[in-house]
């Protein structure tokens, strides 16, 4: 072991090391960046309370969490995929198609223009299986055949939406079996099950991404795929898992929404993907991969839905909500740029 310590070891290194850590070096700046949106969320909460005292009532907060739970699962899926430097635009169609196929196979032929081929208990497994299948096809095209992920999933977005329109004849499936309704309607310990599912999955995702080798390999792949390979990470396998898991999560998200609305519309999930991307970027996820945390993504989607809720409580006419939604995204992006202090890429 060396006994000599070089006298001319770079001094700059020590000086720089001091700057990146705060609070006696215990909390690195990188961790604080995760909390960048928390002040914004607090501000919106205060503003909301001033606008309408209903805002901070448990019922209203629960309402916000429940309305965002389906979209939040898509954000979770997209965040994983963005971290490994891929994209999946087809998540929003998967979210419609997966429960759509289940409903099509399960809903009796007479009443709800389904086929009635399978008993109601099959609906949930079929939904998740369709999600997995979509993921496998995406992964096959992107990883195995090396096609551009953006265009592949754009194609899938259109194809899957078309299939749903085809099997449903452009109509909405009603009379869903109880198994499909359960997650969207049940309450556990006084809180809707979908909120539990959403929060639990985010907690698991935060843990996996922060504290497991698998999770860290996502960052390594997104940051520098050659270095990840050199470190012995089986990059293709990790990418497969991420893409397929993403699609399964989208299917689950579709299941929650169908259950809550007790129907599967042929346009279910249409247009969601833009909000999903916006929430992820607002939450600090880089579109160039390797950066951002699951907690950040969660605060991104939470911020968006809180602002929407405040606007609704303030009595903004419904016709203007669309324009405002877009504006909110731009404002929220600017807020996170200010609080995060980093150029978004």
């Amino acid at each position: 072991m060396p006994e000599t310590v070089l006298a001319d070891a770079p001094e700059a290194a020590g000086a720089r090391g001091g700057r990146t850590a705060l609070f006696g070096g215990r909390i690195p700046l990188a961790r604080l960046r995760d909390l960048a949106l928390v002040p914004a969320i607090v501000v919106i909460a205060v503003v909301g309370q001033i606008v309408n005292p209903v805002f901070l009532q448990p019922d209203n907060l629960m309402n916000v969490l429940q309305t965002m739970s389906e979209m939040a699962l898509l954000v979770l899926a997209q965040t994983m995929i963005l971290i490994v430097r891929k994209m999946d635009l087809s998540l929003e169609s998967t979210m419609g198609l997966a429960p759509g196929v289940a409903a099509w196979l399960v809903v009796p032929a007479g009443a709800g223009h389904g086929l009635g081929l399978l008993p109601g208990a099959w609906a949930v497994p079929v939904t998740l299986a369709v999600g997995a299948l979509v993921g496998v096809v995406n992964a096959l095209l992107i990883i195995r055949f090396g096609l551009n992920g953006f265009i592949v999933t754009l194609g899938m977005l259109i194809v899957l939406r078309g299939i749903l329109t085809g099997i449903s004849g452009g109509q909405t499936f009603f009379q869903l079996p109880p198994s499909m309704l359960y997650l969207g309607t049940a309450e556990w310990l006084g809180m809707p099950a979908s909120i539990w599912v959403c929060l639990t999955l985010f907690a698991i995702a935060i843990g996996v991404l922060g504290w497991t080798s698998f999770g860290r390999s996502l960052y390594a792949i997104g940051g520098n795929v050659d270095a990840a390979k050199a470190a012995g990470i089986r990059t293709d396998r990790v990418l497969w898992i991420v893409i397929v898991t993403g699609s399964v999560l989208a299917a689950l998200s579709g299941l929650l929404l169908s259950g809550r609305l007790a129907s599967v519309a042929s346009a279910q999930g249409n247009g969601y993907i833009f909000t999903v991307f916006a929430a992820a970027v607002i939450g600090g996820i880089s579109l160039n991969g390797g950066k951002g945390t699951m907690f950040g993504a969660f605060s991104g989607i939470l911020l968006l839905f809180m602002i929407q809720n405040v606007l609704t409580l303030a009595g903004v006419p419904a016709q203007w909500i669309g324009a405002l939604n877009g504006l909110i995204i731009l404002v929220a992006l600017s807020i996170s740029r200010i609080t995060g202090g980093k150029v978004q890429d």
Partner: protein, 502 residues
């Protein structure tokens, strides 16, 4: 050092083909324990291919590699290779978004409860590892914030932590300034004493003489010679590399135009973030060097001149005109041409063709009304390729397919494309082989002889030797001016801020 010990690595009869190209043709190398072994050769001699064979990234078509007398592991056994050999590449193999600690233990994080990663453990192990090899870097720093020097030290520490005691350094000094190179060499000697063996790849022959014990020369995919550095004089080494006796380059420029008449560049009272009170002028046909260590402000001043940066005070006049500060187009319009510091970042668009890259700054020479004529572009590019002796099958080849020296020639071609009145060169020969370097510097003299003023910002003595005058910057100020005929040690002392007379 007893030669009875088995060599750290011994490669014999290595043949590697890529399609019709033979990258290695019966090549061999033997590196003995504890030595620092130089591998030199011009671009395309097969050095990189040999490195990827020695590090197990590519299996040779023929031949064998043995470590410490035992055959090398299978290509698929990455861990086996990593315990024997590691390479610090020019291209970074760290992940910028992750901390230094995590980069060190990527995919082998210390685990705590329930097989979850223990972050305190990771930090502690990283701290220990960095302390063991005396690398002064905070393990919590995001790796992207490290400079080149720190990154190399971190990569060396990582390599050692796998158990490898044989480390390949692929042009480690290419992006370092003189002081950092000295620190790197100090580190190499230190590790050498601790039993680490190095294979050192460099274009800079004086570095080979400074740090290495043995040298192996490759040329045209073949092994040419292996000899102790002390037994191989410089001229013979260059001859082995080029296959011919080198014509000594004329040390002095025979002619320099009268510098009194016109100014190509005049800088007055320039002040910026990293420099202050910089005033000088470059006459038409004059070559002026701007020397200084990294952080001395030389690069920043040169970048300010060409508009890559804006000064907070002072003025820049190019050929009598005052371009808007901080505007590259304005500087180009005023008659400047420039070679930026880092061709990979600022110089080239790697996937675009040579023709497109070389003519990027002169669109109006390619056609009227904003429409480009491909014919005219290729014509112009053909002339540049010929003029600068760029080795390529044609102008349509993407620049990323060229060797470093030829890429730099493309950047130079672009700087010269508009017949500039002022040529600004920042580190013009970094990462360029001996031959291309001589050629590029010769071109600079040729350009100056046509009446163009040249400003060379560099800390490379060979770049500065051709200058009529050298201005030395230290900590943001011009401290010394030297006329042609300076001694190396005087210039180096001035760049380091040491007063030899004191």
């Amino acid at each position: 050092m007893t030669h009875a010990e088995p060599p750290v690595v011994e490669a014999t009869g290595i043949v590697k083909r890529f399609g019709p190209t033979v990258a290695l043709d019966g090549a061999r190398i033997t590196v003995r324990p504890g030595e620092t072994h130089a591998l030199v050769g011009r671009n395309g001699a097969g050095k990189s291919t040999l490195v990827s064979v020695l590090t197990g990234l590519q299996a040779p078509d023929e031949g064998t590699v043995a470590f410490g007398g035992r055959p090398a592991p299978r290509t698929s056994d990455r861990d086996g290779w990593r315990q024997r050999v590691a390479c610090v590449y020019q291209k970074s193999t760290i992940i910028p978004g992750l901390t230094v600690a995590e980069n060190l233990f990527l995919n082998r994080h210390p685990r705590g409860h329930g097989r979850l990663i223990s972050w305190p453990g990771t930090r502690r192990r990283a701290q220990e590892l960095l302390a063991t090899w005396s690398v002064a870097v905070d393990p919590q720093t995001p790796a992207g914030e490290l400079d080149v020097e720190q990154r190399q030290f971190v990569e060396i520490a990582r390599a050692l932590s796998f158990g490898a005691r044989f480390i390949v350094l692929d042009e480690p000094t290419a992006q370092l300034d003189a002081a950092a190179i000295n620190r790197l060499f100090g580190r190499i000697r230190d590790l050498q004493r601790q039993g680490v063996t190095f294979l050192f790849i460099s274009h800079h022959l004086q570095e080979v003489y400074e740090i290495c014990d043995m040298v192996t020369v490759f040329r045209d995919a073949r092994h040419i010679v292996t000899a102790p550095v002390a037994d191989l004089p410089r001229t013979e080494l260059v001859a082995a590399m080029t296959g011919e006796a080198p014509a000594a380059r004329a040390e002095d420029r025979t002619r320099s135009l009268g510098t009194g008449a016109r100014s190509a560049l005049s800088v007055r009272g320039l002040r910026g973030d990293t420099y202050a009170d910089v005033s000088f002028r470059v006459g038409a046909g004059e070559i002026v060097g701007l020397a200084g260590a990294a952080g001395s402000g030389r690069t920043e001043v040169a970048e300010t001149v060409v508009g890559l940066r804006a000064a907070t005070a002072g003025e820049v006049q190019i050929a009598g005109r005052r371009p808007a500060a901080g505007s590259v187009p304005a500087a180009l319009a005023a008659g400047a041409g420039f070679v930026p510091q880092d061709r990979h970042h600022q110089g080239l668009v790697p996937d675009m063709s040579i023709a497109d890259n070389a003519t990027l700054s002169v669109p109006r020479r390619l056609g009227r009304n904003g429409l480009l004529s491909h014919g005219r572009r290729d014509q112009l590019a053909e002339r540049m390729i010929e003029n600068l002796a760029i080795k390529t099958p044609g102008p349509e080849l993407p620049v990323s397919a060229l060797s470093g020296g030829n890429q730099q020639k493309v950047v130079m071609a672009r700087a010269l494309a508009d017949d500039p009145r002022l040529l600004v060169l920042i580190n013009p020969t970094a990462g360029v082989d001996v031959r291309s370097k001589e050629f590029l510097l010769g071109k600079v003299e040729e350009t100056a002889d046509t009446g163009t003023g040249v400003l060379v910002a560099s800390d490379e003595l060979d770049d500065l030797r051709l200058c009529d005058r050298v201005l030395v910057m230290f900590q943001g100020r011009v401290t010394t001016e030297m006329n042609r005929g300076w001694h190396d040690h005087d210039l180096v002392a001035a760049m380091e801020g040491v007063d030899l007379d004191a």
